[in-house]
Amino acid sequence: MPIPTSFEFECPVKTHCGDRALENIPFEMRAMNATKPLIIGDEPATQEKRLGPVLDAFKNADMTLGVVEAIPAEAPESVAAQLAAIYRDKDCDAIVAVGQGPFIDMAKWLNLMVSTGEENPEAFIEGKGIPRTLKPLAIIPSATADGLELSGYVRIQDTTLRSVNLMPPLLFLDRRAVGQPGDIALAETGLTALTLALEAMFTADANPLDVVYARTAAKLAAMGLNGLAAGSESEGPLALTVAHGAALAGCTLGAGPRPPAYKLGWAVAETGKISAAQAMGVMLSYVLEHRLAANGMPADMLLELLDGAGCYARTPEGQRGASGFHLLRDLLNRLFETTDGKIRRTLRDSGLSLQDVTDATDGIDAPGEGIAPGGQEAIIRCAWEGRPIR
């Protein structure tokens, strides 16, 4: 892969992953000069008792903890304001957030509020005014992730903020905290991670440092999805593998623009007939196929990412790209089979008409880099039918 003549890379996230990862939280807090963390957990984390091991990790830490459990998903802005009051009242100096998706957005927004004193998100539009150093924030994500947890995105009050400075400095991935989301939710997390990672990998301006995160995230997501498709238990190691991939996929996105398949997936999900993760999972191969052809880029590395160097090397050069796309679509087909059709292979499988999909995606101002004029229609039609673009 050629190197761009000019690029920039930044990933402030420190990753702790694996056995007893949670036990490192107090050390990392202390290293950042924090001794009074506010530990917050969303409803699923609380119901599944995933906060217990986090609190246990502090047993001998000699730190004062604030703990707020079962935080609801509704009204995140007012919840954040209430938590900010608790943070200040109890003189906290860091946040440990256990949860997923929009809850993590709320935690990042809370951290921005307590770090700056500003309570209006619009003050930070386009990343302006977000300080380089915020209060310490540790994220403990679950295996039910939307892929943005470790990114520089914060969605709050109909406002989306993005800045590298919003990427959490600490990530802890531990089997005890990722939860047991079940096959469908886990597959959806994996599809989101795979989409973000592969779209980051196959862009014209991908640089070698971004690619390190992207290819690792893609391999983890593919490993998890292949495990699910093969009928492996969705709990334990597989859940951690998928959560791992999703977290690194968020790092890959950073504060960059959301890529085409990811954006189209969210637009199609507005119909209410398919989840965003499944919609982007269906559209991924078609977006990549269109984009690589439009940019004149080879798709060969897709094969190496999905099936390893051995398979890549023994496949003749002229067949590698097609084999990669075949594997990607076959993965979705096998998930369809394993989940009794709950994971869709095509947009048509979800009961949507082609017109429904066209209407849902019509409002997207610009689908993203590498989509040629008319390309979006072709992608949608092929993803609806389940027919390769070429």
Partner: protein, 422 residues
């Protein structure tokens, strides 16, 4: 293949700015960290090569430089750190730009501790995790493509009065930004280009094949290996090839990220000792010793070495090499690289310890000093994460072969394996 250990940590918080216009991005980087008056820290070699002029020309009128301190010694010292901290304060600076290699960067980090913590007692911050807050902005501009020191969280400062080397370890010591610009390495002599690139290759290979590897450090390592494999010989033949120089600079940073997070093994262990006892440059030691480290460890991690063939020589060679011969092919290929570099540099790039010479033209590593190197290696901590142990006999066996350039006798290693099993 993805190797996921039971537990790992990975961190590299350095903002990497790379490109043919990398230096021109420095004003924006300074603005981002709210700094306007940087102190430039470098050594006489870098300044003498005109590289500070290149940096200041790129900064133009956009940045008011607070001063240039160009007398960092080869071994970073407490005196140099104090002198630079004084210059920083006297000139009202608010950031440091370190232009050079490991010693310059270590000195700059030491001075940064003093000015950020407003202390004259640097020793109070020696050790692991003593720093508790962000320091003043530090921008690193490497002038070789090898050490990867721009990605490390360590500084080592020598206190000559006490004959001590003081280590400082903290994530707050990571530079805020590393600027990789091929103009900084365009004038590197061929032998130094070769040795530093082989240093980077060794960082990547040891990070991938030793015990603390993880999926992200593996990703760094294989990307670095691919870039070096595709660009080193081009740059050796066309030293002013800017794209190739940029690729090598990026490779060195990737390799630095790999070994900062996965550590190294016996190649560094013996290399450190060889450098300390006989003064052989680090990159030269790495180039010579890398095939021996892989050969020695092959019964433990040959499957990992074999995987590197894909990245080092590409898919076709990988596919056509029988599975059980891939590790040996990697080792053979690295020896071929050394051979080619030796030829291109007209013998300046040493293939074995016997071919290394000091500044006076004397043999740098006399055969009779090998026991001293062996003794020094036993006390070097880089061996901790090597896949296989080494005793006195093993060290001497490796050193004797590395001295005359002959491959290790696999039967000897097998004997050792049996000894361990027994």
């Amino acid at each position: 293949m993805l190797h996921i250990p039971g537990y790992y940590e990975y961190c590299c918080r350095v903002n990497v700015v790379a490109g043919h216009d990398g230096l021109e991005k420095i004003p924006a980087l300074l603005e981002r960290v709210q700094a306007a008056r940087p102190l430039i820290v470098t050594d006489r070699g870098v300044a003498g090569a005109g590289l500070i002029d290149v940096v200041t020309a790129a900064l133009g009128n956009q940045v008011a430089i607070g001063g240039v301190e160009d007398d960092v010694p080869q071994d970073s010292s407490l005196e140099a750190v104090q002198r630079i901290a004084e210059a920083y304060r006297a000139n009202g600076c608010d950031a440091i730009i370190a232009v050079g290699g490991g010693s310059v960067l270590d000195t700059a980090k030491g001075a940064n501790i003093m000015v950020s913590e407003e202390t004259d007692d640097l020793m109070a911050f020696s050790g692991v995790g003593k720093l508790k807050r962000r320091l003043k902005p530090l921008i690193a501009i490497p002038t070789t493509a090898g050490t990867g020191s721009e990605t490390t969280l360590v500084a080592v400062i020598k206190d000559h009065a006490r004959h001590q080397k003081m280590p400082f370890v903290s994530y707050f010591l990571l530079p805020d930004a590393a600027v990789l610009d091929p103009r900084m390495t365009l004038t590197l002599p061929p032998a130094i280009t070769a040795a530093t690139a082989m240093d980077a290759l060794t960082h990547a290979v040891e990070a991938y094949t030793c015990l603390a590897k993880n999926p992200l450090s593996d990703g760094n390592a294989v990307s670095a290996i691919e870039l070096i494999a595709r660009n080193l010989m081009t740059v050796m033949q066309q030293p002013d090839n800017r794209d190739g120089r940029l690729a090598l600079a990026v490779a060195a940073t990737l390799a630095g990220m790999a070994f900062s997070n996965a550590m190294v093994g016996m190649v560094h262990n013996i290399g450190h000792a060889t450098g300390a006892v006989c003064g052989v440059p680090h990159g030269t030691c790495m180039a010579i010793l890398l095939p021996y480290g892989l050969e020695y460890n092959q019964h433990r991690n040959g499957h990992l070495t074999a995987e590197l063939l894909f990245h080092l020589e590409g898919a076709e060679v990988y596919a056509h090499t029988p599975r059980d011969q891939r590790a040996a092919q990697v080792i053979a290929h690295i020896r071929e690289m050394n051979q080619s570099l030796h030829a291109i540099t007209q013998g300046q790039h040493a293939r074995c310890l016997r071919e290394t010479y000091d500044r006076d033209g004397n043999r740098a590593v006399p055969f009779e000093r090998l026991p001293e190197i062996s003794a020094a290696a036993k006390n070097d901590p880089a061996i901790l994460l090597n896949p296989e142990d080494l005793d006195d006999e093993d060290y001497m066996m490796v050193l004797e072969h590395a001295w005359d350039g002959s491959p290790l006798n696999r039967a000897d290693i097998a004997e050792f394996e049996k000894k361990v099993c027994a």
